[in-house]
Amino acid sequence: MTAQMTPNPEVEGVLTTEQWRRDLDRVGFVRRLLLARKWYGGDWWFVVVSAIMLIFVIIVGVFPQWFAPYNPRAEVGPALLAPGEVPLGYVLVTRGDANVTGLIDIAQPSNNIGFVVGTPASQALRDAVNRLKEEAREAGQTANYNPRPRRYQTIEDGLQALQENNIDGFIMNQSDAEAALANFPELVITGGLTEAAGKGFIFGTNQIGQDVFSRIIWGTRIALIVGLSSAVVAFVLGVPLGLISGFVGGPVDRVLTLIMDSLYSFPSIILALSIAAVLGAGIGNIIVAIAVVYIPTYFRIVRGQVLSVKEELYVDAARSLGHRSIEILTRYIFPNVIPSVVIIFSVNVSDAILTEAGLSFLGLGLPPDTPDWGIDLARGQDYLRRAWWLITFPGLMVSLVTLSFSMLGESLSEILNPRLSEL
């Protein structure tokens, strides 16, 4: 309380703020890298990992043709092939004396072709017959290729029937055929129906023989477009409305809150569904429909934050220094509100991907052959017990993208928020 107690600027705060800088000078390069979190305030490696993941996902989404081995819409292999499984080549077995050169000779409705029930042989036959029809149509012929299928319980039953001339051909896979034909000397392998691919499919094939991996790669594009755009649209509309509503208050606030709450009280999928139904199919309309669903989320978060931030002393202090309302809103309230919105954004992106999947599943989203994680998930769940890979890989991708978005969002908010960078 006396004049000689002049404040010494060097004393206060030196230990708290400067210590780590001095520590940093004393340590080696590796330790310095580890201490680097203090430069950013957040866990920097968190940011790096999620950023690398996101950059990779974005590259994949922009250039799927670089990564996808097959056309995502083409049926490139047998149905429901497990990941890594080499597809078996199916062959046509006929009697040696029948002079059959290929399936084309015995593909009339009067012919019978056998196979063991419940094996992919039936699919192979169907594919082969379809190919024949295709070729005939292209050649301008009208041929009725439609052999009658005969189902047998075992290979032996079928081959027996073939030997006894009850059927004209039998379809089985190559390795089985070579083993079994030793017992039936009269029968010969006439030719392959489907070729044994040298390699399998890394994530398997789906129920119509499309490559799951290629579909996931191409689905990244749709997911990013829909997820990001709808989140951005919701952000751009929801945040300013929340700011205005919370800051201005009064009747404006009441009306806006009423509208937003009534939107919010709708089950999100039903709301998106009805909007999508009104607007019609198409990616732009899907984006709008999903964005409308998420606007209230931003609105409510921002409004709540504004209501609490505007009571803070520093807002009063800013007013006491003569700041205008608009400056207080943009420089004092908005920066203090935004960290919580960033987190909502990252969650929102992943949520939007799922909502889009739901819409597509219900038939109001994208066309059913679109390579899209949501569509794949929705269709794959019918085969849950037989083909785990149909939903595992799209689901994994959704989780991965969600994770990287939220990781990035969280670490960004830590970096953006100077209060959390406290040592």
Binding site: M1, T2, A3, M5, T6, P7, N8, P9, E10, E12, G13, T16, T17, E312, L313, Y314, D316, A317, A318, R319, S320, L321, G322, H323, R324, E327, R331, Y332, P335, N336, N417, P418, R419, S421, E422
Partner: protein
């Protein structure tokens, strides 16, 4: 209250018959009733009173920063101009440039996401938009060093500063625009005694150096005794007593001031049995007591106190008291006390 609003170069702010009434669900609450006082240039005026006595409302009313639910009437002549007649634009210019406020909690009175330098530069830019950023920064640097904060702390965020430093930054924000009056609303309450002592010292230094007036709102009697030139004691939205610090504290006139001073802890407390506790509770402002608002708790209560509210009367040069003990009235029976000069 019969003082005239004369243009006086010594007087910075004249407040006449200021009333603040909040509209609440329980009816109007008169938080400040009929208050009149002056603040002179370069003066440090203390405003003390219990919690809820209207001190902070007073401070905010001076800034014209009360919410819309508060009805403010009266006159506030600041440097010859009536602030009550200002429009929103004039008010914005008035705040910060002429009058500035330091708040109770230094931890939250600075924007946590803005650097110290941005705070100061922005304050300059708001009122002097033509100032270049470099010169604003230069001013900020000089000022902040003047207040005893190293200039390398300027790019820091508020949380990196101690409470005392933050309060000094807040003072700096008022000084950088050469405000004439700084209102310190419980500005030292949350600081420890050492920092408080430093800050008090600083307040005096800046008063001497910049010639600003200070209105120190506090319930810390010791702080007022140490820092202020004059003190106004508030009770239930009214000024009970106002006068030079030494006179008021040496010879308190109003019974409330007497009680207030007796309830301040003393180092020689054990000589007395116990700390003095004033009887009763602060009155409800929704439904204030009739007559003098202090009469239900007053040890010297008289008949007239129940019925008629006394005036704030000048009983000696520079000393005003709001009490029937020192004021004549035809209905009064007891003799009026003359205050010795």
């Amino acid at each position: 209250m019969e003082q005239k609003t004369v243009k006086d170069n010594d007087v910075l702010l004249q407040i006449r018959n200021l009333n603040v009434t909040y509209k609440t669900r329980f009816g109007p609450v008169s938080a400040v009733e009929d208050i009149s006082f002056d603040i002179k240039r370069g003066e440090i005026l203390g405003l003390v009173g219990e919690s809820g006595s209207g001190k902070s409302t007073m401070g905010k009313a001076l800034m014209r920063m009360l919410p819309r639910s508060a009805k403010v009437t009266g006159e506030m002549i600041f440097d010859g101009e009536d602030v009550m007649k200002y429009n929103e634009d004039q008010l914005r210019d008035f705040r910060g440039k002429r009058i500035s406020m330091i708040f109770q909690d230094p931890m939250t009175s600075l924007n946590p996401v803005q650097r110290i330098s941005d705070h100061v530069v922005e304050a300059i830019e708001v009122h002097e938009p033509e100032t270049k950023k470099e010169s604003a920064l230069k001013r900020a640097r000089t000022l902040i060093e003047r207040l005893g904060i190293a200039r390398r702390r300027l790019p820091d965020f508020p949380h990196q500063l101690s409470g005392g430093m933050r309060q000094r930054v807040m003072i700096g924000l008022g000084l950088v625009l050469n405000a004439d009056l700084i209102i310190a609303d419980e500005a030292t309450t949350s600081l420890d005694v050492i920092v408080e002592a430093k800050l008090v010292d600083q307040f005096r230094q800046i008063r001497d150096e910049f010639g600003v007036s200070l209105l120190v709102i506090t319930h810390n009697i010791a702080l007022v005794a140490e820092l202020c030139d004059r003190v106004a004691v508030m009770y239930a939205g009214q000024i009970a007593e106002i006068g030079p610090v030494e006179q008021v504290f040496d010879n308190p006139l109003h019974p409330y001031t007497k009680g207030l001073l007796k309830s301040v802890p003393n180092i020689r407390l054990d000589e007395r049995e116990e700390l003095y506790k004033m009887a009763g509770e602060p009155p409800s402002l929704t439904n204030p007591p009739s007559g003098c608002r202090f009469h239900p708790r007053c040890p010297f209560v008289m008949d007239i106190c129940h019925r008629i509210d006394p005036r704030l009367d000048e009983v000696a040069p520079g000393r005003m008291v709001h009490c029937w003990l020192y004021e004549d009235h035809p209905e009064k029976e007891t003799p009026t006390i003359e205050v010795a000069q």
